[in-house]
Amino acid sequence: MPSFFKNKKTKTQTTIDSSSSKPSNGKQDETTLTFEIDKNVQLIKDCMGNPPDLNVRKIIIDASSDFSIAMIRMDGMSDKKEVDFSVIEPLSKLNFQELREQLDNPNSAEVLGRLIAVNKLEKMNNLEKVVKSILQGNTAILFSHTQQIFLASTRLIDKRGLSEPTSQTVIRGPKDSFTEDLRTNTSLVRARITNPKLRIETLNAGEITHTNIELMYLKGIANDSILQEVRSRIKKIKIDAILESSYIEEFIQDSKNSIFPTLISTERPDVVVANLLEGRFAIFVYGTPYVLIGPATFIQFFQSPEDYYQNYYMGSFIRILRFVAFFIALYIPGLYVAIMTHHHALIPTTLLITLAGQREGVPFPIVVEALIMELVFEVLREAGVRMPRAVGQTVSIVGALILGQAAVEAGFVSASTVIVVSLTAIANFTMPFFNVAIAARILRFFLLLLGSFIGMYGILLGTFMILAHLCSLRSFGLPYFDPITPFKLLEQKDVFIRLPLPKQRTRPQPARPEQKFRVKRGGSQNET
């Protein structure tokens, strides 16, 4: 058996395999192409283990001189119709003598290209490259008596159509979202920025998967040194497979142990466009609708595209509301436990009496109660995400009615705890980006424990720890808490409130864009 398959047995060996492929060219016997068409076909087949989806079609053009053509393509990844009409038909119509002459021609690819009507026709004689190209969906055309193999680009993969975003919805604003297909995704952005300055660079990662990654930015606006850093960081990724953009995120983020996200991930093309215009870059990964945007600041995770689509009073109001909701999601359980167990004096008298009345006869300490309810809610939420659609109603009835109402009526938990937990849960859903909500979800438990141990002092301690951490974080070398610390007055235009767009003439500076002004000073007639 060829050495290819032996190597595929373990992951560690595969990494060696690709790096050692160049010196293995010396071995003539098994991995180099021959002049015999059948042998070449067999070589390619063996290379992939003769899979059932490998479609090989051989046409004997001239039996007497033993001249034949073979076409190899992956079924399901290539366009069958195009192969039939654009490749097989013109070739079979051709006089075989003529064809033979043309093959000997040094620029045979161009000559043949006139006949075969596909986007791109390439000539290769390296088995590994040929196999890789076939795996991408191209069709390999083999001729008798030649080592050259022609590859026609016939890639066509079934893909999902555009659909509405599922995790980042808006009331007013574009309703399209990215799909799993890389080219569709980039086209969605390109359609919105019809400007030659929009640049896309192709990068690769994943030793086995060879996943396509594309880096997008606006030349002249995005900061060059940051782009340089991104390229080098992506090149340094050492991983066998990339299934989602989060794989890349974990490799290229500055602080690998932080609970807070330092890259934005979005499925909305308008978010990508807006960020590109602020001088940020976007990383598209094949196979996922989530695009990474960087460098990110903490404030950005509270900015929904809707803030800009509604009028700015509403935009500002909703944004402040979101900060309040984040505070609630993070602090309320901790504060509740701290005040209820350590600082009774802080509760207004009438409220204290009501609360004390509710807690009469509740068997668990309030910390345990809050922890249990929080955990129950987390379980419910996880079940809600994971469960099959058909049983959704059952879970919500069981969750809401039985766990919530019945637990209170049975006297296992106090009504106030249920209120606190549900308030927290709802507040957590207001975050426009899910990954910052996750941070609040986990830190909530941390603050809850601190609050129960040492009361308000613990809550403050936790707050300082979180704030110190946030201020120390960096995203591609730029401060994460910008523009709050370091404080910049002029940058506050789009932080807690959103000023009207005509007033926002400068680009936000956190990403250090090369161009300071959105449009040139003195008027907008100068279109750049």
Binding site: H342, H344, A345, T349, A356, G357, Q358, S452, F453
Partner: protein
Amino acid sequence: MKKILLAPMLIMVLCLSGCWDYRELADVTVVTGIAVDKTQNNKYKLTVEGINAQELNNRTAAGYAPSIVYSLSGNSIAELTQKMNIGFSRNLIYSHMRILIISETAAREGITEFIDFLERDREIRDDFRLIISRRTSAAQILKTTYPFQKSSSLKLFKQMDSFRRNWGGNPSVQLNDVVNALTSPAVQPVMEAVTIQGKASKGPSVENMKKVTPDALVVLDSLGIFREGKLIGFLPLNDSRYYVWLRGKLDHTAFSIECRKQNNNFITLRAYNNKSKITGHLEDGKAAFKVKLQLEGFLDSNHCGKDLNKVETYKEYEKLAEKYIEKEMKLSINKVQKKYKIDVYGFGEYLYRNDYKNFKTVEHNWDNVFKNAKVEVDAKVKLRRTALRTKSFISETKAKH
């Protein structure tokens, strides 16, 4: 290595030092009011009202007593507060204490000793009201039930607040007011006094809450006056109102003023924006003060039957009111000067601030100087409107006769 050690150490710090003041809400009884009496053998008797929270919530109330009142005697209040579990099952928390009632007899013997504890204690705040129980024991006040707030302390707290807002008859004395007055040479402390109307013995029962006219009801009675930390007498509520005005705390009030040349016919003036300003000087150990009073108000009843379409009527009424107020205020101040011979109003504070050098010379016997001080009162009344009606229907009924 250091980092690896740091994490378990931090967790240990939390676990070892934390929780010392951890108290479940279900393990505490909220104290809403305490009462201090003196027993025969000169010991303190502390009475505490611990509320039954479930009973105060309308949804969970089952008709039991809304609060438990328990008394204990001992040598110091501070010790007794921690000793209350002789009778109570749960930890008592004093941070929500709304009122402190001192019995008349205890107040006459002096309040300074246990005020120290109140001010010193970590848990007790300074926003509760200090009250004297007149003609009854302090404990009895705490025991008298009332249907609305249910807890007698909460009722009394609310009652005092409402009364001060509407009529201004009580100053709502807080701990800081008393401590400041006790330490100042220029003013003496006061406290509101309450008493029980009806049969005091029927007060401490749920039945008392079920009657249209409760058998026993705690009512505001007067203003207790102190000299050197000891209660020396009481001022009626009407004088109490003038006290509140002079202290600048009068919110709203109402005056009934007799019409000119008409006995038993009154106009009612509802006053707001009440201001008072004291000026004065000290010469040769003799003090003279001028009190400027200002109020705006509207006419709420007009028995005199004067035509309210005319400006003259307003001017006349204003004059009438000014005279009335000047007279009453002067009477009130003179009563304190002659009868109690102490400065509760803080005239001395004005001198203390504005003529410190001179005041220094009379500081040690300021109250003596004050009792002979000449006080002039000048009131300015502005009648702004006449409520909903200009012309009263009374004038028409008279016209028909």
